[in-house]
Symmetry: C2
Subunit: 261 residues, 2 copies
């Protein structure tokens, strides 16, 4: 009989296999870093041969970009959900800050630092990073506009307020890989105080606990990434369609749009 390794090969549908590859790549990106998203590493994880991965992603750069896209989108959907049925905008904003200072958020910060650096060399990734930054801006702006409409927040420039908050969070997250013990309290609260000032809120309004009401306050970045695979696939297909519609080089987007082929 044959040895226990090298099982019988399993032939899956392209859609299923591709989703599996992307989910695995996103998990590796989140836990080990984007440069660990290699054909060999992903293949090993799925116990297939590296050639199979490049069959679905002829250019490895596309896989890395999509891994980041999925991981970041999963995070965004958890931190700033599009639908907010369980509380007020102020509560969701307080929850966002509470989650953004937790341990689990370090994985996210690391991922963003990673992506921002790697995008220096990889144009495809750079585009995805830019798109995800805009998506974050949009999401937070929408939350703020909602709060303004309900009279919870007061600002004339919701988008500017959103970007200011995100810049501060980026600055705080920049140290996710280094030591940042004994930070002064004013530094830890910098994102909150920025929001309070930009949204004309009394000091302490957004501090957890209390401000979040009954909203759940825990999340797992890797689980969020798993859940984001189908959404990201749809988004990628959409973006690719937009590209091929406006540009004369549809094959450039083929590798990210192939999920629906």
């Amino acid at each position: 009989m044959s040895s226990s390794v090298q099982r019988k090969r399993i032939r899956k549908s392209p859609e299923a296999r591709r989703a599996e590859i992307v989910a695995t790549a996103a998990r590796i990106a989140l836990t080990e870093g984007l440069e660990c998203v290699t054909l060999r590493r992903v293949a090993e994880e799925l116990t297939v041969r590296p050639g199979l991965i490049s069959h679905y992603f002829p250019s490895a750069e596309d896989l890395v970009a999509e891994a980041f896209s999925v991981a970041a989108l999963g995070e965004l959907d958890t931190l700033l959900p599009q639908e907010r049925p369980d509380g007020t905008p102020a509560q969701y904003l307080a929850r966002y800050f509470a989650l953004s200072s937790g341990e689990a958020y370090d994985d996210i910060s690391r991922l963003w630092i990673n992506a921002r650096h790697l995008s220096r060399y990889r144009p495809v990734l750079r585009d995805v990073v830019t798109r995800m930054e805009l998506a974050s801006d949009d999401r937070l702006e929408a939350l703020i506009l909602d709060g303004v409409a309900r009279g919870e927040f007061r600002t004339d420039e919701a988008r500017s307020a959103a970007i200011q908050i995100l810049v501060v969070l980026d600055g705080l997250g920049a140290h996710a890989n280094s030591d940042r013990t004994d930070r002064p309290a004013a530094v830890t609260r910098l994102a909150l105080s920025t929001a309070e000032r930009a949204l004309a809120l009394p000091h302490g309004t957004l501090d957890a606990p209390g401000a979040t009401g009954t909203l759940p306050l825990d999340f797992s970045p890797t689980e969020a990434a798993e859940a984001a695979v189908p959404r990201a696939a749809a988004q990628a297909a959409e973006a690719a369609a937009a590209v091929s519609a406006q540009a004369a080089a549809p094959e450039a987007a083929a590798s990210t749009a192939a999920a629906g082929a």
Copy 2:
């Protein structure tokens, strides 16, 4: 006669050769990125053999760390000089903000993103990054304390103010590799307004031009790095001496301290 390539080998003093190597590595780090600081790349730049580089840096990781150290220290000395003979603290602070929003500053931001990411995998670099972060905190805190003593600034927590300002600058610099066109004015001014609030300054006090007095407002990151080589060598020797004094493994620091041997 021999061909033009492969000139006669030149034997330099260890100190001179090492300084040359470090300066080259720092320049590569600043312009191309820390992962381009390889034995081969540095050797090629100096037209020597790669083996020579590993003769001075038995572990390549130490070279990368020192390249960052030199580049970052050169930048810091230019942006926030230790001696400030030509103006008031407020003027030097205004100059700092002016320089931090210029084009040349993108190279610095890129370098910091690079180092913060790479330090995830490289402990030696991580230590240097932490040390340079503390050095930045110290430098800005000292400037603020000077301003407080002269009655220009007002704060009870100079260090907290310094860190807040640096966090915001990190956040703004995080996008050095991506698009960040059409940022709202409030975002561009975020570092200034943070400083104004933390130091109890009237709005607009730190805006350039005008606030900087006659201080020079241009600098070249690569030139700053060149000039920092001897200072960084002294600093490295100091740090290494401290290490070997307190720990029982002096050979671990040998590669960075070898300059004085």
